[in-house]
């Protein structure tokens, strides 16, 4: 079972990576993550927004209300310079972890 810390870490990485491509509102962000991970990662409402608020508090992302072309107001999140700085080491850490796990699983299969 994947622990809470790992889940939280992957969620943060997923959100920061998607927002690196451009600002998005919560709903679209969740859809984009689900689509790009082919459903492997999906966010419930109770997981997504508390995570976004926490990341906003840490100043990794910034939310602002914007009106869409349909006139609907949405809170769009964008990556801050601090968030960009956070993304690189986070990617490196996760990449290292995945490589280590891959090596481990390959070794155990051999």
């Amino acid at each position: 079972m994947i622990g809470i810390g790992v889940k939280k870490g992957t969620a943060e990485l997923a959100i920061l990576s998607i927002l690196e491509e451009g600002p998005l509102h919560g709903y679209e962000l969740a859809r984009r993550i689900e689509r790009q991970t082919r459903g492997a990662l999906s966010f419930s409402l109770a997981a997504l927004y508390p995570m976004l608020y926490r990341m906003e508090q840490r100043r990794w992302i910034r939310g602002a209300w914007e009106a869409s072309s349909s006139g609907r107001r949405r809170r769009c999140y964008r990556l801050t310079p601090q968030g960009k700085k956070k993304l690189s080491p986070l990617r490196a850490e996760w990449s290292e972890l995945f490589h280590a796990l891959r090596r481990l699983t390959k070794a155990s299969h051999a």
């Binding site: 509102h25 919560g26 419930s44 409402l45 997504l48 927004y49 508390p50 995570m51 608020y53 508090q57």
Partner: protein, 234 residues
Amino acid sequence: MHDWAQIVRQRLANLALPDEDAAQVFDELAGHLEETHQSLRNEGLSEQGAVGRVLEGVGDWRVLQRKIELSREKEFTMTKRVGQFWFPAFVTLLLSMALLALIQIFGPNPWVTTATPRGWRFVAPVAVVYVSWLFTLPFIGALRAYLSKRAGAHPRVVFSSIVFPVLPYLAFFLVALPIAVILDDHMAHNIMIPAFFVGLCAWVIFPGAALLVGGWPVQHFASRHSGIDRTATN
């Protein structure tokens, strides 16, 4: 068509966040649910089926509420008291003291003269400076109430914040002065008692009342206004 904003507000009615933050959270979550609902309808689900799926996706609303509160807790425990009480209190305390000093320097000119053996001497009576300062206090009270209320303070906190500048004087009159009277043999007790009440009125009761005259209507109006906002968006 479902009013998702109303559903969210009802289900998260006890969300422990300042009004303005709570309203933003409600709007954002309602928008999310509305889009999810619309997307499910576009996929061909019936109205009832789509609503059911949306609500199912939320899960336990109490869990959602707790998670949102926790995600903001650190920020609020660190800054809530500062924003709602200490910041408005100290800004306006500083302002009221600065105004008192400015009135003394640039305020009304002395208008009482006394004759001394060396000739005429101009004296600024305390009332000239004091009364002018007293007239500025309602504005300071109003500013203080506005700052506290804007930070989402409870009416009790707003009240404490409004009367904050008179609290040091109150402590002085109720604690320091009686102790001084008891311990200091050189103080003339017959003079002290009337002076005590005059001082208490001049530095605690009147300024406190003046601060409340300005601050309380602002607090009252802001509370009503936020109440109207919530009802309107419902």
